[in-house]
């Protein structure tokens, strides 16, 4: 034992002194920074532009107070740590504080970058100014109003189409194709997962190839063929186009899910006198419900924000979907749309998607991870 201690202690002392200098420097830096923040806060509050009105003064004072508070918290934290160090001469306290605060600083920067666009769009959606653009960054713009939301819900587009029609079209096409794909796809997935039959390998290869087609990769033939049968400008035609990509995806996803279910269960059921089909209906199907739900909702999310096919095929405003109208609110089509309306529409369109996502996050990730790791 003795020689081990003799071995480790010099090494530890060396590493302590190396990191110790950094930690002491960091502590000094943090104390300086906190003092700077306090001074900055006082400066912002004290030195106000002479002609400032109430609306621009309030955020400034608030910002100054936040700076002072942050400075005070950091100052208290580090002066306490510094005192502990001077008392015990143990650099570990400094290092632990430094590491913890560096991690927090990193995460706060990431958080700020994540929230920046979200706060921007939320703020703009409340902006009462109609066509003039924002000239500064504010979280709650002066004279905030929900007017833009009201306008989006009553009169979302210069085209003759109501919000309810848009919502109905988007829901019908996205949910309908996802449900159909899962219903038809699950039986096929079961066959690919549990049976060995001639053509199985070629069938699987076919799926992989179809899954590799990029978004809009079959846009040209679908356009021509759906035009030829007179369905191109209808929601039915759009649903057919969506199903052509949703179904292979559903089969692939469900196969991965059924692969993970133990075969023993069906075997036990068949020993008890179940046929293969009964085994599928009574044993596998109930167990596969979570997988089916995730696959369907994944398909729904894709269809909900699908743009390429809808924008290319549909030409009749009452059949439009929500992404098309959102597209009409930016760029060259945006004449007559305020940024507030665009922002409100973005948020309205995102809410269902974000809700579904947060609700299903655990399953989405575990499904992807399981599918991926299994290869």
């Amino acid at each position: 034992m003795a020689h081990i201690q003799a071995h480790t202690s010099p090494a530890r002392r060396a590493s302590v002194s190396a990191g110790g200098v950094m930690a002491i420097g960091w502590t000094a830096l943090a104390i300086l920074l906190s003092l700077g923040l306090v001074v900055l806060g006082l400066y912002v509050i004290a030195v106000r532009p002479a002609a400032s009105d109430a609306t621009s003064a309030v955020p400034k004072v608030a910002g100054g107070l936040v700076a002072i508070a942050a400075g005070a918290i950091i100052l208290v934290r580090y002066s306490r740590v510094a005192r502990a160090y001077s008392r015990e001469r143990d650099v570990r306290v400094l290092r632990e504080t430094m590491n913890a605060d560096l991690v927090q600083a990193f995460l706060l920067i990431v958080l700020a970058s994540v929230l920046f666009p979200v706060l921007w769009i939320l703020s703009m959606s409340l902006d009462p100014r109609d066509f003039s653009r924002p000239t500064g960054l504010t979280i709650i713009p002066p004279g905030a109003t929900l007017d833009a939301y009201a306008r989006v819900l009553t009169n979302p587009s210069p085209n003759p189409v109501t919000f309810l029609q848009l919502l109905r079209n988007s829901l019908l096409v996205a949910a309908g194709t996802a449900a159909l794909a899962v219903a038809v796809g699950t039986t096929a997935a079961y066959a690919f997962s549990r049976f060995n039959f001639p053509g199985r390998r070629i069938g699987m290869l076919g799926f992989v190839l179809v899954l590799m087609i990029p978004p809009g990769g079959t846009l040209a033939p679908l356009f021509v063929l759906l035009t030829a049968v007179g369905l191109r400008t209808s929601l039915v035609g759009l649903a057919i186009a969506y199903t052509s990509t949703a179904l292979p995806f559903a089969i692939w996803n469900m196969k991965g899910f059924i692969d993970a279910l133990p075969f023993d269960l069906e075997e036990a059921a068949m020993i008890d006198g179940c046929s293969r089909t009964q085994g599928f209906l009574r044993v596998i199907l109930p167990l596969a419900v979570p997988g089916m739900a995730v696959t369907a909702l994944w398909g729904f999310l894709t269809g909900w924000s699908e743009f390429i096919l809808a924008w290319t095929f549909l030409s009749d405003p009452p059949t439009f979907t929500l992404p098309m109208v959102l597209r009409g609110m930016v760029g060259q089509y945006a004449a007559g749309t305020s940024w507030a309306m665009f922002s409100a529409m973005s948020i309205v369109m995102s809410i269902p998607a974000v809700m579904v996502f947060f609700f299903l996050q655990r399953y989405l990730v575990s499904g992807l991870a399981a599918g991926g790791v299994k290869g």
Partner: protein, 330 residues
């Protein structure tokens, strides 16, 4: 019938028997197969035929496109009469776009996941749920919002720069002067590349973080305890334990990421629209324009078949790489 003969016989009968025994499987597949035959496989076959014709808008009604051989393929690769079109440049840009993005997604995703995996980290739950937002938002919405944020005069980014006292009049999306220009390999990166890159990194890394978080949580604690006993430093633990242990999950996620980023239509189309001068066009946005703006269905079909071949090659390569770097299943 072959199925009821108990003794296995060679040749035709065995095939027939296998087919007969698979009859239930075929029955299960039949509905999906019928639907896919009509709406998936037939359009693909039709696309191959269209790629060899001069199918254009006028043929939608008259239905008599002419066979033109490989002309469409030659024109797609050699040059189409569209301003600023160059297949080679788009392909190089698309490749650089993909790998820069995926590298940043994976690096940032792992970094944040490792930071969030620290025991008793204050605010862990809040961070985890808020960091998911960019992934949860429809990418079409994110793309349009980022386009708005890069606006030259009123966009959030330039306004932020102004508030910080920096020059806040940068022409993020319009500046045509390239930032990076390597003519030898046909690589031209304008400022808008970096704008759209930031947008796509913003919405791409949380997926990698989620995958990495799941993998990190399955690393047994004993490994770190053993490392502690051996006196390993924090970096050593990261390089010798954490990264090798999460690699089996990160490799397939990276492959998914490569495919998704290579075909990231919504971000490119809505943030830069492929501009300026078509310098940020990727293959899927160019293919979309061929149908949507030009109405060249035959050319678009040839274009998409070539893109499809490129994707197949990328899949093969990434599969090879991921298998070659996979010591864990041996």
């Amino acid at each position: 019938m072959a199925a009821v003969t108990p003794t296995p016989q060679p040749g035709k009968i065995e095939v027939g028997k296998a087919l007969w025994e698979g009859r239930l499987a075929y029955l299960y597949i039949l509905p999906a197969f019928l639907i896919m035959a009509f709406i998936t496989f037939y359009p693909i076959v039709y696309q191959v035929w269209m790629a060899f014709t001069n199918f254009e808008l006028r043929h939608l009604r008259l239905q008599n496109p002419e066979f033109v051989g490989f002309e469409n393929f030659v024109r797609v690769l050699g040059g189409l009469p569209i301003p600023n079109y160059s297949f080679g440049r788009i392909l190089v840009f698309n490749t650089v776009w993909t790998f820069v993005n995926v590298f940043l997604h994976v690096t940032l995703g792992i970094l944040v996941a490792v930071a969030l995996n620290i025991k008793n980290l204050p605010g862990k739950r809040l961070y985890r749920s808020l960091f998911i937002i960019p992934w949860a938002l429809p990418s079409l919405v994110s793309g349009m919002v980022w386009n708005n944020m890069w606006h030259e005069r009123f966009g959030a980014v330039n306004l932020l720069l102004q508030e910080l006292g920096l020059p806040g009049n940068i022409r993020w999306l319009q500046e045509t002067q390239p930032v990076i220009n390597i003519p030898q390999i046909g690589l031209v990166l304008p400022l808008s590349f970096f704008a759209v890159l930031i947008a796509n990194v913003w919405l791409g890394w949380p997926f990698m973080m989620s995958i990495a978080t799941g993998a990190l949580q399955s690393i047994p604690e004993e490994l770190y305890e053993a490392a502690l006993v051996d006196g390993a430093s924090g970096w050593q633990k990261l390089w010798r334990i954490t990264l090798p242990m999460i690699r089996p999950a990160m490799v397939p996620a990276t492959m998914i990421g490569i495919m998704m980023t290579f075909n990231q239509f919504n971000v490119i189309y809505f943030v830069t629209g492929g501009g300026p001068l078509g310098l940020t066009q990727i293959l899927v946005t160019q293919g979309f324009n061929l149908v949507n703006q030009q109405g060249w269905y035959g050319v678009a079909s040839a274009f998409n078949l070539i893109v499809f071949l490129i994707l197949a090659v990328i899949t093969l390569i990434t599969n090879r790489i991921s298998r070659a770097t996979e010591p864990y299943y041996a």
